[in-house]
Symmetry: C2
Subunit: 476 residues, 2 copies
Amino acid sequence: MKNISNGHFETIVIGAGSGGLTVAIGLANLGREVALVEARHVGGDCTNVGCIPSKTLIHQARSGVGGAQALAETQHKRNHLRDEETSSVGATKHLTLIHGWARFLAPRRLEVQAEDGARQLLTADSIVVATGSRPRMVDIPGLPAERMLTNETVFELVQPPRHLAIIGSGVIAMELAFAFQRLGSQVSLVTRSSRVLEQAIPEASEALAASLAERGIAVHTRATPDRYDQVGATLHIQSNQGLLAMAGVDYVLLAVGRERHIDQSLTQTGARWSEQGIETDSYGKTTADGVYAIGDVTRTSTYTHSANAQGRRVVQRIAFPLLPAFGREPLFPNATFSEPEVAQVGMMPDAIARQYHPQLIQRIRVEFKDIDRGYTDGVRHGFIIIDAVRLTGRILGATVVGPHASELISFFNLAISERISLYRIYRLVFPYPTYSSGIAKVADTWMRTTLPNIVGELKAYLRYRLARPLPEQSAG
Amino acid sequence: MKNISNGHFETIVIGAGSGGLTVAIGLANLGREVALVEARHVGGDCTNVGCIPSKTLIHQARSGVGGAQALAETQHKRNHLRDEETSSVGATKHLTLIHGWARFLAPRRLEVQAEDGARQLLTADSIVVATGSRPRMVDIPGLPAERMLTNETVFELVQPPRHLAIIGSGVIAMELAFAFQRLGSQVSLVTRSSRVLEQAIPEASEALAASLAERGIAVHTRATPDRYDQVGATLHIQSNQGLLAMAGVDYVLLAVGRERHIDQSLTQTGARWSEQGIETDSYGKTTADGVYAIGDVTRTSTYTHSANAQGRRVVQRIAFPLLPAFGREPLFPNATFSEPEVAQVGMMPDAIARQYHPQLIQRIRVEFKDIDRGYTDGVRHGFIIIDAVRLTGRILGATVVGPHASELISFFNLAISERISLYRIYRLVFPYPTYSSGIAKVADTWMRTTLPNIVGELKAYLRYRLARPLPEQSAG
């Protein structure tokens, strides 16, 4: 508190979500005087309306716990963690928590307005914007407010819906569709996209579509909500089959993406930003001196682990400005806790196609049902797909779909980040019978297709290594 | 079949278990003429009485399937896979399956006796011994044969036992104790050891002991079976509390280790072997020219994945003798599918203590209950422990206890095998919330304890790097 009297801190962090906490606690632990400004709950989306409640709910649902009990346990765990995080912030030396809304007056100067209207002026050597995002809203005529849910309200339910219509098919939509189906809800998905989880490779979408169908979850692609009729609780949707009516829909969950939470006063700092987020360098520095940004407000992925990783790099940059930079930004893996889980790391196929000639790339796909652990566990949908450079065996990107995909992906993250080729992975022994022994099969397949034709592979490599990628096909 | 007439093959493999199949199919696929001699079922222990039925049973038990149904499904899956493997061997070109018992006459000459007594003489350029192991037996006076089980008979049960006494506390004992407890059996463990899963680090044994206790599985350490009394189905055991009587024990499962299945005729070849197994170099070559050995009959670990890995190296050595050797033998990870799972890779603490001064080693332990995924999933027992070299951050050994430990361990296998330091692992981003983000916490802890004291770490490193390890303490 020593600096609160004159309102000056070494660093002010705006937003006490995952990323903001990482920076605030990280710097405070290094002895810096830090203020953390938060308008709502400590913990941000992740603790309060994101990963923590969703993963608790998924775990309860998979463990066979009943709907009401699962929801109660989810709220209980969420509240407990929120309390813990709040008191841990309070107990951190050199860290001052300030409740209120922050507004920039200049690059290093803020005004914070408390709930009671009281204002205070704060200044700092550096300010970190970590204000996150909020759910994008869609207007559905006729839908009463109490029937509409977002990730910010869905975990307040005390009973699973009878019939939950989910608008969207991204990460949140997928995770909650499978969870509520397990809890006994009828679930219907309505999405503008032509496939679910569009951000993943099409093979992952196919596996999810098959699993959704098996569980009786209706999926309406290329469809949008039209209106809601309280008589019969009917949601009307526009699809390419015309107007459809879904009856008995007691709740509609909006999961159509996120909007960055950027206060217009940021213009006072000179930091550049657009709808895609605040511009930063690989250490979170914006175009304004002394102003940093991390997490959902930036252009990188909107995952908690991305915000944390960015936060750690900002701590390093602010606390040790003279330390050599750790090099390029790390890879950000993706994970969706659907059934099957979907995880991805490295380059996506479209990025590979922009950079490499297709003849230079070998794709290997191993089905989990063809390895022994998939057999003993009765896995139907799941695979590992990797794209590697021919001859060299360097992996460019990997997608895992299936049990524990979110755990397995870190192996590929390490291999890609450290440029460990498939020749070297081939040497590893994987415990039997595990899903990760699918990785051994990937390396076996690589060796079996590459070694007997090593001269041909060398020729192809030399020919296509510097060849241009094929021109992109114009969209249909 | 082209070579069967004169009885000569390029390679003969004795034993159609995991390791033997790897070699036989691997070489046949490369066009070598191979005979595979098997006295019982194709698939060996793993398919018939090991990993496949045990992991199927564990999966069924964890999914909440009832006892009789779980056992029926286990037999069904086992039989189906056995049939598949048998027909896949039959369909492999250049591979001849011969039923019978093999006996060495000379290094490259065998006699095979079929069940009907018919004998045939076989010769080969190389012979691979992959005859595996069998359960070690213990005599329990009074125990009728039909009340005694080993891993070779336990999966034939059609109902779970009412009260299963398991003699032993190794991998098989642990896995089946948790599985049968879930299927509704009362389970009691009787072990000579002072702790369960003695081959793991003591911290893993503690976690298992706590979990066993929570599930009401009685554990008698430093105890041996004394006799069985059919009246009241009572198993009497000797423990350090004297003679104890366990009532209503309808089945006793022996899981007290394995005996290598080595035919005395091996002496005809000049290959050296002892009770610890057949001696081989790192490519499976015995001391006899043209004779190889892999899997349980050798001195390495008795895991299916070890046998497979050795098999792949033998294929390489036989098929491509001029290829440069791939270097040192790979690391063999361990995995026990108990609850929690236990997995380990790299050097064990006792091996580290023999090679390094204790002041040179930093141990880091991260509890799963302290990371968010452990919190959402309510994990009570689980952790990551790594031993690393101070200053350099090189990991020497790792143990993971908890959900998906058998999958997470491959990350450490890659890191240790490729000598990727904790400084570099610190750079990685792990999906949130996963168990593997415990690895990030390990690296964070490393950085937090090492960086602020880098001069002290450097001094310690220089001082103890070449220092002798402490003399071993005399036992108790």
